[in-house]
């Protein structure tokens, strides 16, 4: 699991690469929390899942945590380039409506 964080005009972009599962969830959560600390009100956190190969339920939990904190901060979180497999996971868990997802 790798992540690259970049500052954009509208906020922060984090590109993930690899598997987001129980063993990488904590690292991913830390990256996201750091980004949330930097994030100013009304800015957006963009998560790029183009190179996300696997998403486990533990990973989803991280996203839920992030989504909740984003909402509390009145910011927006968007997940981009969601592959079909990962989309299926979201769909499977009924969370495809909970998150703002964009297909690849």
């Amino acid at each position: 699991m790798e992540s690259i964080k970049t500052r954009t005009e509208s906020g922060i972009n984090i590109a993930f690469k690899g598997r987001l599962n129980a063993s990488t969830a904590d690292d991913a959560l830390k990256v996201i929390r750091d980004a949330l600390d930097e994030l100013r009100e009304a800015e957006a956190l963009d998560l790029d899942f183009r190179e996300m190969t696997y998403l486990a339920s533990a990973g989803i939990r991280v996203l839920i945590v992030a989504q909740k904190q984003i909402s509390a901060k009145k910011c927006a979180m968007m997940i981009h380039n969601v592959s079909k497999d990962v989309w299926d996971v979201f769909e499977l868990t009924g969370l495809d409506k909970f998150f703002d997802l964009r297909r690849a």
Partner: protein
Amino acid sequence: MALRIRAKILRVILSTSLGVVAILSAAAVTGILSMRREILTGGGKIGEIAYARSGESLEEQVRRHIAGMAGDKADLTSAKFRTVENRVRMIADIAGRIYSNPGRYPPRAIDYLHPDQAGQLIPHLSSAPGFSLAAHRDEVYRFANIVDMLRQAPGTDIEIHLNYAGTESGFTIGVGYWETPNETDYDARVRPWYIGAKAAGDIFWTDAITSYHSGVEIIVCAMPFYETANGMRIFRGAAGIDMEVSETVNNILESAEIGQNGYAFILDREGRVIFASKNGTAGDSRNIAGEDYLKHERKDVRDLAARMTRGEAGIQKLDLNGESVYIAYNPLPTVKWSLAVVVPETEVLSPVEENRQNILSLTRTELGNINREILGFFLVIGASVLILIGIVIFSAGKLANGIAAPIIAMDRDARIISKGNMEHVLSVKTGDELETLAESFDDMIKNIKKMSAGRERVETELNIAAAMQASMLPHKFPESEDFELYAEMLPAREVGGDFYDFFFTGERRERLVLLTADVSGKGIPAALFMVTARSLIRSQAQTGESLEQILFQVNNQLCENNEESMFTAVFFCVVDLSRGSLEFINAGHNFPLFARKDSPFSFFESSRGLPLGVEQNVHYTMERFFLEEGDTLFLYTKGMTDMENHEGEIFGKERLLEAADEFRNLAPRQFDEACRQRLAAFLNGAEPDDDITTLIFRYRGKKPDVSRGAL
């Protein structure tokens, strides 16, 4: 590795020690060599200086010797010549007296020399041609008184051949040895000595001239004599003494010790060599007598001759007759000759050269000794260095071993420990930091042991928890004519988040609640969350509320204090056995499989809500349909479909569907086992990384009147 440590230590020690040895050796060798160079040049210099000094002093000595010799010879010769002069003066004096006072001298008979008397010392008369004895008898006989005077000289000195007195009258009286008397045609008045003496009016030395009588080279010392009468001096003749040159000069020169090749020569007033000594081989080999040095081809010789004829004394070095010689010269003032002593330079220098050779050979010997000493010193240094290197290599090796050996031992021990033998102890007793290190390592191992023991305990406890968790799930499946039921939860490694549940509700226990759930994450948090969720669902379900209401409440309760954002997907369904209906809500759960009797399975693609615990106040939508006899519902968690084999392939929904269709006629328990075996075969040894939970419900048909058995 250990070998490298040893090699490193060895290299450092050896290079340092050898460096020091090399520097010291180089310093010593350089010092010795420069000392040697100094001694060599110094020794050579000393030899050269000694040579030069001895050369100079020897040459000086030789010069003095030669000059002294020349001076002595000259003095001796001069003295001899003065003796001759005195004698001539005496003869002349007597002759003058006879002429001045003839009356005092009675006539004495004297005659020409008789041939028989040749070689005898007999006074004799000789006269110029045409001289008449008869006419001058009185004069001759009175003058014959001179004989007593003349008689004194010859014979006493070997070189004096003849004393005589010649008169103006034309006769001469002499005493001496001669071999070929020719006395009747001898006119003294025309002889050089007579003419010279007459002209000089005093002592006169002739050059070397040929004797009238004997034909040999002679010099004549002559003195005029006068008749004194009435205060008048009338020249009457001259007295003379013949000296044979060779005899004279030999007497002078032959006593000279002029070395092996030295010789002497005499230069007359004309610059001619009138004699060269026969002493020494050089004198013999060179016939320089008669050479005119004033006209010599070499200027330095001409200059020398000029100085000599001027009556100077001196010594100089010059090239004479192709040989470098020292020549000392002194005047012989009486005869106005010059006597020279000649010594070849080689002879002069031979002692010098000998001295030089002695010094040089001494120096060489000394240098040879020094060289030997230095060589010996080098040998000692070399041997010392070799011994030193040996000692260094030996002790460095020991030191390196001393350092490396415990490290090697520690490495070996650590390998043993790393293979799992935690009881192994590092036993290094070096008494230094290595021992401390080994002790620290042992302490570390002890702590690791403690930690791993703790971890093992946790693992054990987790396994117990997993077992407990599994045992919490109902395993007693209700026996009923209406349905068949089987469920199984297989945790992956430790306590997990999956669970299933079934229980009856309703006043007549006509409602059968079935569910499978998948909690996010694993481990204790997931397990606790699962327990919470299960209890909440069980208790909420007992309220008899609608499924929607039940999940609404459970979800809200799960969301409270859910800091960790745990959540669980649930497929929650209730079979109303009295009505033969099935109500269900899918809260984020994967789609179950469903099949009618004699029909293939298909996915039960209902609408789906959020998992429980994600967000509060979620409204779930329940769906309902009626069951038919032979309907089979197959609930499973995603462990059943999402697991990968070693090739990274997931089992997937299609394979599950295939398996389900294949085994659809089996009873639920056997069906479950068959499907799990199919999955296991697919995984082919890959360890399951997720819980697998299944629940199979088969409906046998509506039997409204059947009473319910206890669960």
